[in-house]
């Protein structure tokens, strides 16, 4: 076997499958976004950037863009701060820690379809689990129409955050275990307060874990298609639509392939800018390993 060819033979199956069914479609999506294609039957006519021009004036799209912004902000804050809290607490408690961990990790095993179905029942007016819980606790005053036009976006975010928190907890727990205990002990001996130890030692050393948790939160917030689809179908009246869901709707419900492709391109560009720090970190680590 030719030595120069061997690595490429081993890479061939991956390159072929990804090339044909993954990479080539990416370029095609860019090309389709410049056409007015409707459905799959016939290719559309080239219309330049017309789809993108229409998009910036499309109220539905702008509304979904606004909601995606809310998703991103909420997803950066809520699951990550919850997960850090949980990870720190679990790390300090030994009694029953593994059972507790299982409880927090459990949502990772569930699909968005199931999370959507479960939380749909939670938010059901009057008879749903949440309303019944609030009534039981005497907190009826807090009840709103969870999946109504005003609250739907936030309610869906809460459901998705439940799952995202599970992921972030895994990441932060792994990050915490990587911090040598001697370091914390030494700081305690030197008279460091809890607060000082947390902000000066623990938090800075959690930076790699944070990069991962933040990138993941950003990506899930930007895409968020499946959970919106299962819980609200973007409704009521499009109030809970996000960009990724909009793309799905325009393409597979309205059959506006060209227009949907343009939204797909925008989603991809947004994701690309978000993951740059993560990819750079991976590149650095790998170069270190291989040099």
């Amino acid at each position: 076997m030719n030595a120069r060819l061997t690595p490429w033979l081993f890479l061939m199956p991956a390159i072929l499958i990804y090339g044909i069914f993954g990479a080539y479609p990416i370029f095609q999506t860019f090309a389709i976004s410049l056409t007015d294609q409707v459905g799959v039957a016939a290719p559309g006519k080239f219309i330049g950037l017309q789809n993108y021009i229409t998009l910036v004036q499309d109220e539905y799209f702008l509304n979904s863009l606004k909601n995606t912004g809310i998703w991103v902000i909420a997803f950066l804050i809520v699951p990550n701060s919850l997960a850090i809290t949980i990870a720190l607490l679990v790390k300090q408690t030994f009694w029953g820690a593994s059972l507790i961990k299982t409880v927090f990790f459990l949502p990772l095993a569930l699909s968005f379809a199931i999370v959507g179905v479960i939380w749909g029942w939670i938010y059901e007016p009057d008879v749903g689990l949440l309303d019944q819980l609030l009534i039981g606790l005497g907190l009826d005053g807090l009840i709103v129409e969870w999946l109504g036009p005003d609250a739907a976006t936030y309610s869906v975010i809460a459901a998705a955050a439940w799952r995202q928190t599970a992921f972030a907890t895994v990441v932060f727990l792994a990050g915490l275990s990587a911090i040598p205990t001697e370091l914390i002990e030494a700081a305690k001996v030197d008279g460091g307060t809890r607060r000082q130890i947390f902000f000066r030692i623990t938090l800075p050393l959690l930076k790699p874990a944070s990069t991962i948790a933040v990138s993941s939160a950003l990506i899930h917030a930007l895409l968020a298609t499946e959970i919106v689809l299962t819980m609200t179908e973007g409704g009521p009246f499009g109030s809970s639509e996000v960009v990724g869901y909009r793309m799905y709707m325009e393409t597979f419900w309205n059959y506006k392939f060209g227009y949907g492709a343009a939204i797909g391109v925008i989603v991809t560009l947004m994701t690309a800018t978000m993951v740059v720090p993560y990819v750079r970190r991976m590149a650095k680590a790998q170069e270190r390993d291989w040099s």
Partner: protein, 296 residues
Amino acid sequence: MTDMTTDITAARTVIDRGTLRERIEEPLMRGGQIGLLLLLALVFFLPVLGTLLTAVRTIPDITQNGAWALPSSYEWGNLGTAFIEMLPYLKASVIITLPSVAGTLLVSMMAGYALSRMRFQGRIWMFLVIVSLSFVPIHTQLIPVFRLMSDLGLHDTFISQIIVHIMRQIPFAVLIMTNFFNTVPGELREAGRIDGASEWTIFRRIYVPVARPALSALIVLEFTWIWNDLLWGLVLTQGAGKKPVTVGILSFEGEYEIAWNMVASGAVVAAIPTLAVFLAFQKHFIRGMTMGSVKG
């Protein structure tokens, strides 16, 4: 003399305060932490608990006694009915998921081996492309893949879903395998080479067997992710026969609408395969996740 006494008294106060802190403040703090943790765990678990409770009750029971009461009678038959109705979808999910996982493993082991163990031009570049590809949103691939599968006459088949799942999982799986093979000592390969073994033999006889820990983690993760996919299952299928269980649960929900005990039963039945795998192999699952830590 007086100075010394003051010093001693001062020192004693410090000591006393120290013990006071150890005796009262620390346990209080710890108790508070455990309490907070248990409360968080309970809140976190409520959705699952509520679903399990609802699944085995009757509708009159739910409306009369509220959603959080214990069942007045346990209706295990709900789960049986849901299972029978979900069976075609569950079957489809098995037919789609198992070959997808196997294919992903084979392809990514080979690629990861090459990237990790061979020196060649464009290696770093190739690796970075693969890492970046693991972030490509499904949205840039949906339309052309849908079109391509229709052109190939593969719309509404299992094979189209299998190919697409392997494609989507390649970047992450290659990343995991590359990182794993990086940790395997290079002497193994040198030893094989001296014995005159071909690259393929070294890979198959030496590297595949040592990769077992990485493989078990990868199998658990890939099984869960592929099983749980929804969008491809929606886009690439037409009739009920080829739809995975994630799509099935949605039509099940549509069918039963406000019969929440049945909807909950459907959710439980649909979740059991991945839940069982997760509970049985939680360690592998978590290890795989921290090895690659890309998705959620």
